[in-house]
C-alpha cells in the first residue's frame, strides 16, 4: 500500500521537465567554481610590489633581502613615480613601499620608523583583496625582521633596548581605488566598509528576482490548475496585454517586497558595520541620481527575470510543477551573485566578464560599485541590454501565447515527437 503511494508520488514528481531542470542546475553549479577562479592558488601566491628604499645601511639591506624572498619585486629603485608606474602597469601589483633616508637612524634613536605604503586597490569583491591581505601579513613579518635587527645590533653595540623595538614602525598608507585616492586606509579596510555593497546587494537582487519569478510561474501554474486560463485567453485583449499584465503585476509586488527587504537589510548591516569610516569622506558615496540609476537597473533586470519566468511558466501544468520551474531562475541569478560577491567586474577574466554581462541579473548587483567609481557607461549599457533582451523575450512569449501550446501543453508535444 505504502509502496503504491510512493510510486505514484515519484511518478508525479519526476517528470521530464523536473529532470531537465535538475540536470541544468547541476551543470551550472559545476561550472561556477571555475568561473570564480582558483581562490586557493591566489592565496599561496607572492604579492607583487614595488619598493623605493632610499635609506642606506645594514637594516635597509636586510629589509630588501626579506622582501625579495617574500614578494615579487616589480620595481626596486629610487624613484617613487617610476615605482608607482611600474606597479600600475603590472596588473597584479599590490602596493608601493617607500622607506625614506634616516629610517634606521630614527629607530636607533627610539623614534618610530615611517613606512609609506601606496596601495593599489583593483576591486572590492571578497577575493579582490586577498593579495593585499597577504601583503599586510608580510608587512607584519617585516616588522619582526626589523625588531630582530634592532635587537641584534643593540646586543652587538651595547645600545639601549626600549619597548618600541617590538613595534618599531608606523605605517602611513593611502589607497588608490580606480581613479580615486583614498587617504589613510588600506584596501582591506575599504573593502570592509563596502561589505554591504559586496554581499548585501547581490543577495538582495537574487532574492527579489526569485520572489518575482516564482510569483509569475506560480500564477501561470495556478491559472492552469484552477482552470481560469481558458477564460482569460478568450477575453478580447491583445495577447501582449495579458503577458505584460502578468509581468507588471509581479514586478510591482516584487519591488514592494524588495523595499521591505532592503530596509531590513540596512538595519542588519548597520548593526555590524563599524561606523568609523564615512563613505562620503572617502568620496565613495552615491548621489540621489545614482540611487535612481541603481533602481532602474534593478527594475530592468527584474523585468528580464519575470519574462524568463513567464516563459518557464508556460510549461507549468499546475502549482507543483511551477515550484520546480523556479529553480532555473535561481541558478541563473546565483551565478552573478557569487561572481560579484567575490570579484569586481574589472578583475575577472574576459570570459567571465562576458558571462557576467550576458546574464542581466549581474547589472543591478554591480551597479552600486560601478557608480561609486563613477562608471556610468557600464550601468547604462547594462540597463539597455536588459531591456532589449526582455523585449525579445516578451515577443517570443506573445508568439507562444498565440499558439495552442498554452492549452495543449508543451511537454505533450515533445512526448509524441
Amino acid at each position: 500500500m505504502l509502496m503504491n503511494l510512493v510510486k505514484k508520488e515519484i511518478k508525479e514528481l519526476l517528470t521530464p521537465s523536473t529532470v531537465a531542470v535538475i540536470v541544468v542546475i547541476t551543470i551550472l553549479f559545476g561550472s561556477m567554481g571555475k568561473l570564480i577562479g582558483a581562490a586557493k592558488d591566489e592565496a599561496k601566491k607572492k604579492p607583487s610590489i614595488a619598493v623605493v628604499i632610499r635609506d642606506k645601511g645594514p637594516l635597509a639591506d636586510r629589509m630588501r633581502a626579506f622582501l625579495r624572498l617574500k614578494t615579487i619585486l616589480v620595481y626596486d629603485g629610487d624613484s617613487r613615480e617610476k615605482g608607482f608606474a611600474a606597479l600600475k602597469k603590472n596588473d597584479k601589483g599590490v602596493a608601493l613601499l617607500i622607506i625614506e633616508p634616516g629610517f634606521e637612524q630614527a629607530l636607533r634613536e627610539g623614534r618610530p620608523g615611517l613606512v609609506h605604503v601606496e596601495w593599489i586597490m583593483r576591486g572590492a569583491g571578497l577575493m579582490d583583496t586577498i593579495s593585499s591581505g597577504i601583503l599586510e601579513k608580510t608587512f607584519q613579518d617585516l616588522n619582526k625582521v626589523i625588531s630582530a635587527h634592532l635587537l641584534d645590533s643593540a646586543r652587538a653595540h651595547g645600545g639601549i633596548i626600549s619597548a618600541h623595538v617590538l613595534n618599531p614602525t608606523v605605517k602611513i598608507e593611502n589607497t588608490t581605488y580606480k581613479k580615486k585616492r583614498i587617504p589613510a586606509l588600506s584596501p582591506n579596510k575599504i573593502a570592509q566598509v563596502l561589505v554591504s555593497q559586496s554581499i548585501a546587494i547581490p543577495v538582495a537582487v537574487m532574492l527579489i528576482i526569485m520572489l518575482g519569478g516564482s510569483m509569475v510561474i506560480t500564477s501561470m501554474g495556478l491559472e492552469k490548475e484552477n482552470k481560469t486560463l481558458e477564460t482569460l485567453l478568450t477575453m478580447p485583449v491583445p495577447r501582449s496585454t495579458i503577458v505584460l499584465g502578468k509581468i507588471m503585476g509581479s514586478a510591482a509586488v516584487g519591488l514592494f517586497m524588495a523595499a521591505f527587504y532592503m530596509v531590513g537589510f540596512k538595519f542588519y548591516i548597520n548593526s555590524f558595520e563599524a561606523g568609523t569610516v564615512d563613505l562620503a569622506m572617502l568620496g565613495l558615496d552615491l548621489t540621489i541620481f545614482d540611487y535612481v540609476l541603481v533602481g532602474v537597473s534593478l527594475f530592468s533586470s527584474l523585468l528580464f527575470g519575470l519574462s524568463i519566468a513567464m516563459l518557464l511558466g508556460i510549461m507549468a501544468k499546475d502549482y507543483k510543477s511551477a515550484q520546480v520551474l523556479t529553480y532555473p531562475i535561481m541558478g541563473l541569478a546565483m551565478i552573478p551573485m557569487f561572481l560579484t560577491m567575490y570579484r569586481d567586474f574589472d578583475t575577472v577574466a574576459p570570459a567571465v566578464k562576458a558571462v557576467l554581462f550576458i546574464i542581466p541579473f549581474s547589472h543591478p548587483m554591480m551597479a552600486m560599485r560601478h557608480l561609486t567609481l563613477d562608471n556610468y557607461l557600464l550601468v547604462t549599457l547594462g540597463i539597455g541590454y536588459s531591456l532589449a533582451v526582455t523585449a525579445v523575450l516578451i515577443a517570443v512569449i506573445v508568439k507562444i501565447f498565440k499558439t495552442d501550446k498554452l492549452i495543449t501543453g508543451i511537454m505533450r508535444v515533445n512526448r509524441r515527437a
Binding site: 477564460t231 477575453m235 485583449v237
Partner: protein, 251 residues
C-alpha cells in the same frame, strides 16, 4: 448571414485527429447543441471556435471574422464557457464579475453588465463572499453569469449545466433560452438529452470527430420514430460502433 459558419473543420493533436472535417452553421436567434460520447471532439470543436486552438484544416467564421485571421474580432463577438471553468480563488464573486466586465464595453456598459451578472448568478449576498468558499454549483452559476452578462453575439457553452442540481439546472436553462435574441445565438454541448431537446433549435451528434447526424429535435424524432433524443443517440451509436475504428482516448 450566419453568426457562425464552420466548414471542413479538422483538428489534430499530434497524431490523434480529434475533429475530422466538421460542417455546420448557426443563424442568429438559434440555440445549437452538440451531443456525442466522451472524447467525440465536442470540446475541441468549441475551443477552435473560441480561438483557443488553431484549426488544422477548414474554416471557421464568427460574425464574418475568421478565427485564424482575426481572432481579436472573434473574441469581441463571443463568450466562451469552458467545461470545467474555474475562478480566481482570492477574488469575491462580485470582484470576478467586475474583472471580466473590465475587458468589455464602456464604463457605464460595464456597470450594467455586472448588474446583469449578479442577477444571472442569483447568489444573493454570497456574491460578496470569496469564490473559494463557493460550492461547485455556485461557482458554475457565477461563470455562467460571467459568460452571459457580456451579451455576446455568440455564446459558446461547454456543458453549461454539468454539476448543477435539478432546480439550478432548470433555472440556468431558462436563462440561456432567454439570452437568445434576434441578433444573438448560442452554441452548447451537453450530455443531457432532455436538456438539448428542451433548449436547442437544432442539434448535431458528433462521434469520433465527425457529425454523424444533425437536425431539429422534432425532425430527428420523426425520422427515427423515437419519442426522445436519448433513444436516437443510442440507436446511432450502435450502428456507429460497428462501422468506426476502436479505442478513442480520453484526455
Amino acid at each position: 448571414m450566419h453568426l457562425l459558419e464552420v466548414s471542413g473543420l479538422t483538428k489534430s493533436y499530434g497524431k490523434t485527429t480529434a475533429v475530422k472535417s466538421i460542417d455546420f452553421h448557426i443563424p442568429a436567434g438559434e440555440i445549437f447543441g452538440l451531443i456525442g460520447p466522451n472524447g467525440a471532439g465536442k470540446t475541441t470543436t468549441l475551443r477552435v471556435i473560441s480561438t483557443l486552438l488553431s484549426q488544422s484544416g477548414g474554416t471557421v467564421t464568427v460574425c464574418g471574422h475568421r478565427v485564424d485571421k482575426e481572432p481579436h474580432e472573434v473574441r469581441k463577438a463571443i463568450s466562451y464557457l469552458p467545461e470545467e471553468a474555474g475562478v480566481y480563488k482570492n477574488l469575491r464573486g462580485l470582484e470576478y464579475l467586475e474583472f471580466i466586465a473590465g475587458f468589455h464595453g464602456t464604463r457605464s456598459e460595464r456597470a450594467k453588465m455586472v448588474e446583469d451578472g449578479i442577477s444571472i448568478a442569483g447568489l444573493g449576498d454570497r456574491i460578496r463572499d470569496k469564490v473559494s468558499t463557493y460550492s461547485k454549483g455556485m461557482t458554475r452559476r457565477l461563470v455562467i453569469a460571467r459568460a452571459l452578462m457580456t451579451r455576446p453575439s455568440l455564446a459558446i457553452l461547454d456543458e453549461p449545466t454539468s454539476g448543477l442540481d435539478v432546480v439550478n439546472a432548470h433555472e440556468v436553462r431558462n436563462i440561456i433560452k432567454r439570452s437568445v435574441s434576434e441578433e444573438r445565438a448560442v452554441l452548447l454541448s451537453s450530455h443531457n438529452m432532455l436538456e438539448v431537446d428542451y433548449l436547442c433549435d437544432r442539434i448535431a451528434l458528433v462521434a469520433s470527430g465527425r457529425i454523424v447526424e444533425a437536425g431539429t429535435p422534432g425532425g430527428l424524432k420523426e425520422k427515427y420514430g423515437c419519442t426522445n433524443i436519448e433513444e436516437i443517440f443510442m440507436r446511432i451509436m450502435e450502428t456507429e460502433s460497428h462501422a468506426d475504428e476502436p479505442g478513442q482516448k480520453r484526455d
